[in-house]
Symmetry: C2
Subunit: 478 residues, 2 copies
């Protein structure tokens, strides 16, 4: 990769004190909770935004809120930056550290503390995986709604940091809509609690503010999340269209008609080929684009909604409609979709964009995206949450060819600007991280950014938490 | 009333410059947009929290965002507090001014600017009434979901300031769940935009933060709100129970079973009598408590959900179940509920509490509430959004009897503390205002409050916006 995105310059005075810091941290944590040897630090060099790597000073893996508070208080006193990390599945580089920073990993805080069905809530530690919550309550007929494709690995703390979404968020909302409370350790080690098991909270909605703050406001150690009752039935249906434009226009019309299925997922021809080769899900290889639309409820409810959707799809020249005949087939359809990024990684390196656009702009933005990648001589596969307008063009390139990598990065930036100019925004669910940090000026004016940075500074005046992320380095107060 | 709640002391230097300030403001606004004569200020002395009155220095009624910005910039330069006001329907005193402050009313900015059905969004000025949005899109089969009982009068700007709810928020969420963007004038007159027509936004979720910030972060002049498709059908059903406890336990069990009707409204015996006398809605006068449960969808969907609800109600000794036979009857049932506060006002003065509790605590809190009001020798009527756990005990008293008023205020405080101690919070949808300001210390520790105030100060360092509200006066930085 070009490395066009800069990190903050490591502080020489921190680097010089490396041995002392490691020794001090060792005194604050159980022996096996501190990692500092070069070869052991390798797994923490990057996250799922593979184009950038930075070796951190050390990695702390605390087991309790108290240990987190102790480490933060120490780093605060000693001016040491801290980068929080869940499972390291960030697609925007949100969990990449830097040479003068501690990575504070929550992976060992992975216990479900309380399942409270009467209040439809679960209290979990931040390092619990997303899927573990749904699995724990599935026997009772409940689930936790947000379902990122990485849900087998990604943690609830990371989901909150990035306000993660997923395929089923069209109906159920993203993390912020399913989060009831957090325990947050502030930068100086103070522990506060936001929200809880009751609706809303008096005072400011700091919970919503912290959700999506990308680890810059404190370290979340516990979360209270909303549990929903599982639907009576659910069924993904495949719709093949001649072109991306016709599939996009169909999505626009479904939503404009006021129909909200559980999920409307989009794949263009390259994505269909890549995913089918991997998952053998039975996707229609002759279609120019595919929609996976999931409906749920009773048989009658599903059929009623499907009938309305099919009527709209027919006005857009739908070529093929395939209902799945069994739970196995349904699981396979979702497996193909959810492993799209992994399947793409088998054939090329890629960067995944995350721009979100108003639904009326879907077809327009799809067309322009392909014009942009054509102009750069790059291949692109589109696989995304169409019902939300949340687009994921995967730009394919060769990570070992610096020129190709530079082209991919430039094309990606142009696509994100296109989304903003179409009335959308830079990121729907993957966060700003380092990836989109310098594009924030394209979305926001100076007054907007200044106000956001003032709020951030109200939590962390010295910019010690995840310092290189989210806000352009120039123009900061730190 | 006792006047136990203090306002900030008016600044003598502002009072001394009153004439100059009025003359200056006159130069910033069209002639009929400034109110300053004593008798014309009377309607602005209080809001729906009638127990307190304060005559403001002047009232500005700007017609454009530019005029709002001009007035704010002037007040900022001259250290003059500003209290924003929509329709003045606040139940927590959020729109009450003070002697050294300008009231900035948005009532003249009442135009719907854009209805964008493909993107399911409406852009409206802040002074548009809540009901006007739904009425504008009803012919096309859409609606705006949050429905405060005051929806005929209250404005969308005020709804955002208080993060208002309503009967149908059990299914559809409160204001923050239905808000897509705002235009916000900051205290120095800078205009920023938060959110828009696309899902989410890059950077911090300042939109969620501003929603519910009670006018302390800036003046909202425009809002983009989400439109939803109207259901195929909807039907309120009355369930009469022998006691409040049995009705409360039924609500807990419905929600614990994962059933989410559109609305579950609760009335105890005093509330039933008061509302029936006013609305003649056919409420069962022999019941100890009543639930109004609304289901929606197709006939089959409604019947399926009702069957499950009835089965649960039968385990709690339900005495009467009445389905309405016509749209007129349905409207009457809702009229009785939505005019509960007005109907109560016909027989006595009242203060309306707004504590919210985890659903498993409903019966317990209802029982304790009646013990508290018995102890103070006060009458109480309970009419509230039970499905959300959002309780509204109306404490009846005589506003002209200072001792009675003091008792009512004390009993109210005790009830709110009870809600907090049961794992709930001080306010579900009415805001903190002045009413619950001094109780914030019961809900929050020092570190929590300090963090909230730091965020507030990031928007308004001099505490010029709505200064006496939300945060206890002691311990502030201003």
């Amino acid at each position: 990769m070009t490395g066009a995105i800069a990190f903050k310059t490591p502080k020489p005075e921190i680097l010089a004190r490396r041995d002392t810091i490691i020794s001090d941290l060792g005194g604050l944590l159980p022996t096996d909770c501190l990692i500092h040897e070069a070869r052991e630090l390798v797994p923490f060099e990057t996250d799922a935004f593979l184009a950038y790597t930075r070796v951190p000073l050390a990695v702390c893996l605390p087991e309790t809120t108290e240990q987190v508070a102790r480490v933060l208080a120490y780093c605060h006193e000693n001016g040491i930056p801290v980068v929080p990390r869940g499972a390291g599945t960030s697609l925007s580089g949100g969990a990449i550290g830097q040479e003068d920073a501690i990575i504070l990993g929550l992976s060992r805080m992975n216990r479900i503390l309380d399942i409270d069905l009467p209040n439809r809530a679960a209290v979990v530690q931040a390092g619990v995986t997303n899927i573990a919550i749904s699995e724990a309550v599935k026997p009772e007929g409940f689930f936790y709604a947000p379902d990122p494709s990485s849900q087998l690995a990604c943690t609830i703390g990371g989901n909150i940091g990035m306000n993660s979404g997923g395929a089923h968020c069209l109906k159920y909302g993203v993390t912020t809509n399913n989060l009831m409370g957090v325990k947050l350790v502030l930068t100086d080690g103070t522990v506060i609690e936001l929200g809880g098991k009751a609706l809303d909270a008096a005072g400011l909605d700091l919970l919503a503010l912290v959700c999506g703050s990308e680890g810059q406001f404190g370290i979340i150690t516990e979360a209270t999340v909303r549990l929903l009752a599982s639907p009576e039935g659910a069924r993904p249906v495949l719709f093949g269209f001649p072109t991306s434009e016709s599939a996009g226009a169909c999505v626009t019309d479904i939503i404009a008609a006021g129909i909200i299925p559980v999920a409307i997922e989009f794949m263009d021809k390259p994505a269909i080929e890549i995913c089918e080769a991997f998952a053998k899900a039975g996707y229609p290889l002759d279609a120019g684009a595919l929609l996976i639309i999931e409906v749920e409820g009773s048989e009658d409810e599903m059929e009623a909604m499907l009938a309305r959707i099919i009527a709209i799809a027919e006005t857009h020249g739908v070529m093929a409609i395939r209902r799945c005949q069994s739970a196995t087939e349904a699981a396979l359809i979702w497996k193909g979709r959810k492993s799209a990024f992994g399947a793409t990684g088998r054939i090329a390196d890629y960067i995944c964009m995350d721009g979100t656009v108003p639904l009326s702009q879907l077809s327009h933005v799809l067309k322009k995206t392909s014009e942009i990648t054509d102009r750069y001589g790059l291949r692109v596969a589109n696989v995304f949450h169409a019902g939300d307008g949340n687009m994921h063009p995967l730009i394919l390139y060769n990570i070992n060819d610096p020129e190709d990598a530079a082209r991919a990065e430039e094309a990606g930036a142009e696509i994100l600007k296109l989304c903003v100019d179409a009335g959308g925004c830079l990121t729907g669910e993957h966060g700003v991280g380092i990836e989109k940090r310098d594009l924030m000026r394209h979305q926001y004016g100076e007054a907007d950014l200044r106000q956001q940075m003032a709020v951030r500074a109200a939590f962390d005046a010295e910019w010690m938490l995840n310092p290189s992320k989210v806000f352009p380095l120039e123009g900061r107060d730190d």
